[in-house]
């Protein structure tokens, strides 16, 4: 677990989510796991002022919110980051749209996450992901990666990936470091490194040491 912040000080979170059930459920969950929910609102209006006032460590926000129930959360997230580039944001949603992922991560992707709402069901993984984002990592839902893999026009290179390499790729996209990947897949550190190198070779990408940079590299490649 990598956290830059002193654990004794609870992480301050702002939640923007229009479903009352989820807003409250998420609030309880985060409080329970040692976060401090400083504000929970039901739309993106006034979010900038809230962030200004509360200086949260993390904003967790839905994409579809009033008034139009389309992508106001995404627009707000991009605006927030433009004002405060080091703000950590998790955008979470009932669906993943690769377009949205690309828009969100178009600039600096450090400290950004995009997850399906379902992921809260695996509480530990979810909390983990939040901590990775706060630490400056990039977290992408595995669904985004599989959608991109499915839709990629570079089918030859994609097809050349072994199932194991695909698994590793997805975990990389979730922003996990090699150590975490090896733990998750029960592989040795050396084996994971080999897979990662293979992936980069097959996709013809320059290897990157930085965890979140390599997520981006893969994402951009898949999109092009």
């Amino acid at each position: 677990m990598t956290t830059t912040k002193d654990r004794s000080q609870p992480l301050r979170v702002v939640i923007a989510e229009d479903s009352v059930i989820l807003r409250e459920g998420l609030g309880h969950l985060l409080q329970d796991r040692g976060f401090h929910v400083v504000a929970a609102v039901n739309d993106a209006r006034g979010l900038e002022a809230l962030v200004e006032n509360h200086r949260p460590d993390l904003v967790v926000m839905d994409i579809r919110m009033p008034p139009t129930h389309t992508n106001e959360g995404l627009v707000a997230a991009i605006a927030l980051r433009a004002r405060q580039p080091d703000l950590r944001i998790l955008v979470f949603s009932q669906y993943v749209e690769t377009r949205y992922a690309a828009q969100l991560l178009a600039g600096d992707a450090a400290g950004l996450g995009y997850l399906l709402k379902d992921r809260v069901a695996d509480v530990r993984d979810f909390i983990d992901a939040l901590h990775r984002i706060v630490a400056g990592g990039t977290v992408l839902d595995p669904e985004v990666v599989s959608q991109l893999l499915g839709a990629s026009r570079r089918t030859d290179s994609v097809d050349s990936l072994t199932p194991r390499e695909r698994q590793v790729l997805q975990l990389m996209a979730e922003g996990r470091a090699n150590a975490a990947i090896s733990a998750k897949l029960h592989l040795s550190g050396g084996a994971v490194e080999k897979h990662v190198t293979n992936i980069f070779t097959k996709l013809d990408l320059a290897p990157s040491p930085d965890d979140h940079r390599r997520v981006l590299a893969v994402l951009r490649w898949l999109e092009s």
């Binding site: 229009d18 479903s19 059930i21 989820l22 459920g25 998420l26 969950l29 329970d32 579809r64 129930h69 009932q94 709402k117 379902d118 809260v120 069901a121 695996d122 509480v123 530990r124």
Partner: protein, 426 residues
């Protein structure tokens, strides 16, 4: 009443239509002759040249030009005769064949041919009535100035047969009287003869019944597609805000419970576990209710057994006490049943929400191949298409139009409200 009819003899002179008809009769004559010459010459020349290369394109030109002349007549008819005729939709097949075979152009050509005899009649009637009525009514002024020498005698005025002249006061008065009668009759005469022109314009220059039908079908098809898309969007929203959110919350509770189980078991964890499972249980039940409501909103299961069952359930669930009368000899199509059901549901909801009614009624019967649905309430009335709750009513109107039905509202201020839906049964 009688007095009003008498007045009409005079007021008709102030009517726009009278002078319009007169204008049309005069202007229409040279136009009619020119149009007739164009049509006959155009057809004859293109027929004659049909053996050469330019015959067919020329015919295409004649047909297209006739269509344009027809449009001019439509405008003339609108401003002078007050005939409101829609522009027909031009459906032209691609290529030269399209120009040659364009229906509306041919109908306009036929119009130009038939218009010719009418133009002559219009002109003769208009000229004759104008001349004789003006001449007759002004006879007392000018009869004295007309004179001729007959058998060495200076005679004045208008000569009847033989040697009779309209030169006695009584005879002058008689001519004047005839002039007055003709003058009073003139507007009607002109209007009667141009009435034939109105019919001709309506039947040959407007859209045909078939093309009007196609237009209606196109419009209602768009409505149906829009309606279906809106319904899908609504369902997606309901799922997103309802069942999906609840299931995420349920999964979250279960996820937390699972983690509690992973730790050590103590009295405290058991309490927390119970609370988590409690909320998961509640969320599961809420989700079931949500999904059931949603499914019923998509298609009420009772509708499979017919309107009677479905509406009985609806009436029983309605917020207002609702009486139900159904007299249907046979079952309408599934589409009509569904539309009737959802309209009734919407109207009952409206009645409960807006009108302050204490009871409502639904009456459905088949009459002469029509399905009549009457939904009434004893509320405050004032329901209108387009008024606050009105967008809903417009939505209903559109939906009903997809099966060629109509919705009428009778809702005076103070009530009661009666909404009638009339759907033809195929």
């Amino acid at each position: 009443m009688r007095q009003a009819e008498g007045m009409r003899l005079l007021t008709v002179f102030g009517e726009r239509r009278t002078w319009g008809a007169l204008g049309y009769a005069f202007i229409g004559f040279p136009l009619g002759v020119a149009g007739f010459v164009f049509a006959v010459a155009g057809l004859a020349v293109s027929a004659g040249l049909s053996v050469t290369l330019i015959g067919v394109p020329l015919l295409g030109f004649v047909v297209t030009a006739a269509g344009i002349i027809g449009a001019g007549y439509r405008r003339l008819g609108r401003s002078l005769l007050g005939v409101e005729v829609e522009k027909p939709t031009v459906r032209r097949r691609p290529g030269l064949v399209g120009y040659v075979s364009e229906r509306n152009g041919w109908r306009a050509l036929l119009f130009l041919l038939l218009r010719f005899p009418l133009a002559v009649v219009d002109f003769v009637v208009a000229t004759a009535f104008t001349a004789y009525s003006l001449g007759g009514t002004s006879y007392p002024i000018w009869w004295h100035f007309v004179h001729q020498r007959v058998n060495g005698r200076e005679r004045h005025g208008f000569q009847f047969v033989g040697n009779t002249f309209a030169d006695t006061p009584l005879r002058v008065l008689a001519v004047f009287a005839v002039g007055v009668v003709l003058l009073l009759a003139a507007p009607w005469a002109v209007r009667v003869v141009t009435g034939a022109d109105r019919l001709l314009i309506q039947n040959l220059l407007g859209p045909t019944k078939a093309s009007r039908r196609i237009q209606t079908l196109e419009q209602t098809r768009t409505m149906a597609v829009d309606d279906a898309a809106a319904a899908l969007r609504r369902i997606e929203r309901d799922l997103h805000d309802g069942a999906q959110s609840r299931l995420v919350s349920l999964a979250m509770s279960l996820g937390l419970a699972k983690e509690e189980l992973d730790g050590e078991t103590s009295e405290e964890t058991l309490t927390r576990l119970r609370a988590l499972i409690d909320s998961a249980h509640r969320e599961a039940k809420d989700t079931i209710v949500d999904l059931r409501d949603l499914a019923r909103g998509i298609h009420p299961p009772a509708l499979d057994r017919g309107l009677r069952d479905a509406l009985a359930t609806l009436a029983a669930r309605a917020a207002l006490p609702t009486t139900l009368q159904i007299d249907l000899p046979e079952r309408p199509s599934a589409a009509v049943e569904s539309i009737v059901y959802f309209c009734a549901a919407e109207l009952l909801t409206n009645a409960a929400k807006h009108s302050g009614a204490r009871r409502a009624s639904v009456d459905i019967r088949g009459v002469n191949g029509h399905l009549l649905v009457r939904v009434g309430d004893d509320g405050a009335g004032g329901a209108e298409l387009g008024r606050d709750g009105g967008t809903g009513l417009i939505g209903l109107t559109d939906r009903i139009a997809t099966v060629d039905g109509r919705l009428t509202i009778d809702s005076p201020d103070g009530g009661p409200t009666l909404v009638t839906i009339d759907i033809p049964l195929a």
